[in-house]
Point group: C2
Chain length 357, copies 2
């Protein structure tokens, strides 16, 4: 494990993105989105993925100089065509369209097709905060998750992020996969050779398993809830709603047709849409009540929940976004730790493209 | 257990609502909403609740002749003041405002204050379907649920319903509490004297329990996920988002301040808002892509998921809304079964008000 500064990793990511053909402004945005994952502790979605994006570009599946544009709109909605661009760049474009719509119509809702993996969901929802808006960010992803009673993988981990501004308190920021556990957590257990808790994974025959290799061995992640008795049909419904808003509304691929993130797997030869899909929302809080009033009640909400009496052995009740914000503060000062295989991967990438790591 | 026809129960509910002062049109809507729960198998939210509404009216907490109105609006948003009306009546009013906004601005979003319990969430979201719109319906509710790590009950079961139109296939209709299990399921186990599965309930000290009396004895329902290891922080975040959209946006009571449904418990003497809150959304599908295109892809989505290969011992993969729709078909022909205590309660109610049951 080695530790790197934000600036070091930002510069490397930015320079790599330039090298594969991104315009300067896209390289800046892309690096900012990717690094925000490392800063907030969602290490699986940060620089560790950079070589994955590069391999997709090498395969011609990512267009690093895309013509991203609105292809349909109403006063409060739009569909954005990402032109096969990096999701890291397409998503902020689309979120800005949602914010722009909201500033006029009260709310803005944008469904996106023809995009790629967009990094962490929370980066995009949080863009709304400085405008005194609530931000919403959803995306579909390559199928790794089996619906309740299904042996087949039909959904991605399809995250939901909602960011809500407060006044003196830090904002409420939920950012969660619609599965019991994110795939990144499973990979950590794999590396350590440890079992997974019951309710995270099923094996290739559709039976519940505690093997942390279950997904790698042809099984699937389970929807939030784990099994029917614990509400997995709800996690399945949530993942489905994310899929439909992101892709059936926009014209992207949905369900099992979503193209795989890994470049060594080919996309379905008979796609039902274009690329992967996202969905963004922005709601001006003063489209409902004065922003000051809303934010002071959010402060009250947050304080009440954070000061709740705790269950045995727990120090405090957390507000969604607390752990990520605290880690971000810590890493600003102490740097970003990267696992040895990630360091090796980035060094090789840099050597291959003549970019200093 | 006795079985009653839809018409019988509709007439009784309608006549009872007239008797407590509802105008004719409100009595019709209220009975329609309440009965839809019985028809769809959400028995805890149907006629079994009628005497509860009546007791709240007797306490002066429900206004049966409310002046429901829009108090703030933009092209795509509104805040509705329910004037202490029956949620059964306030909610369809507000959903119609959302639909009307969507027909002009592409989408419509309505937050509601000063309301009461609104029946099943799915009734309201499904109102959007005939307009080729996606419908969304959320509500907060009396605190019965403890956030992750909290010993205190701070949230209601805060349901999320999303209804999405298809073409030849029946619509996708999710309608779920943001807890592992709805309180109604726990009450069934209580009546049978059976234990609850791990992950549904914690006791009054904040420890996990399998006692189905756990909530009655001062404990709490658990957010979807059950415990931290199984993602309960996600269920907690979802319930919180429902609370904030429904009440902090509108000016209703939120969190532990939400007034109790049962008339024998007094509301907090220092409320942070007015009544309980709801949130509704309507999105015209053709604000994104042509409705025919969208609906034919929804058919494809539904067929693919429904025909997925199943896990051992399960016959088919269900689409959200399938079980409720099938039960509705069945009960149309075979009537609605009511438990003996419910029949007794309704008979006594009818006698007290001179309405034939």
């Amino acid at each position: 494990m080695n530790t790197f500064s934000y600036e070091q990793l930002y510069k490397f990511t930015h320079d790599m993105l330039l090298k594969i053909g991104c315009p300067e402004v896209h390289a800046q945005i892309g690096a900012d989105v990717l690094l925000s994952a490392d800063m907030r502790g969602v290490d699986s979605h940060g620089v560790a993925r950079l070589s994955g994006y590069v391999r997709l570009w090498e395969k011609g599946r990512i267009n690093t100089n895309p013509n991203i544009k609105i292809v349909h709109e109403t006063p409060s909605t739009a569909v954005v065509d990402g032109d096969k661009g990096l999701g890291l760049v397409v998503a902020p474009y689309a979120m800005n369209v949602a914010i722009e719509k909201a500033s006029k119509a009260g709310t803005g809702w944008v469904s996106v097709k023809n995009s790629n993996h967009y990094g962490i969901a929370g980066y995009h929802s949080m863009m709304a905060l400085e405008h005194d808006m609530i931000g919403i960010s959803l995306t579909n992803a390559s199928p790794l998750v089996s619906p309740t009673f299904s042996k087949e993988r039909l959904l991605g981990t399809n995250p939901i992020s909602v960011a809500i501004p407060a006044d003196q308190e830090p904002p409420f920021v939920a950012d969660m996969a619609t599965t019991t556990a994110a795939n990144g957590k499973l990979e950590i257990l794999q590396r350590k050779g440890q079992d997974a808790p019951e309710g995270w994974v099923q094996d290739k025959d559709g039976n519940s398993t505690t093997s942390s290799n279950g997904v790698k061995d042809g099984g699937a992640l389970l929807p939030l809830g784990g099994d029917r008795e614990h509400g997995s049909h709800k996690g399945y419904a949530l993942g489905s709603i994310v899929d439909i808003f992101s892709a059936v509304l926009s014209g992207a691929n949905y369900g099992p047709w979503v193209p795989p993130f890994v470049a060594f797997l080919e996309p379905d030869p008979n796609p039902v849409g274009e690329g992967i899909g996202h969905f963004f929302g922005a709601m001006r809080v003063d489209a409902f009540r004065p922003a000051g009033e809303f934010k002071s009640h959010m402060d009250n909400w947050i304080k009440r929940f954070r000061s709740a009496e705790t269950t045995p052995g727990n120090e405090k009740v957390l507000i969604p976004g607390d752990p990520e914000r605290e880690l971000e503060e810590y890493r600003k000062t102490n740097g970003i730790p990267l696992l040895d295989p990630v360091v090796k991967d980035l060094s090789e990438l840099g050597q291959r493209f003549g970019v200093k790591f």
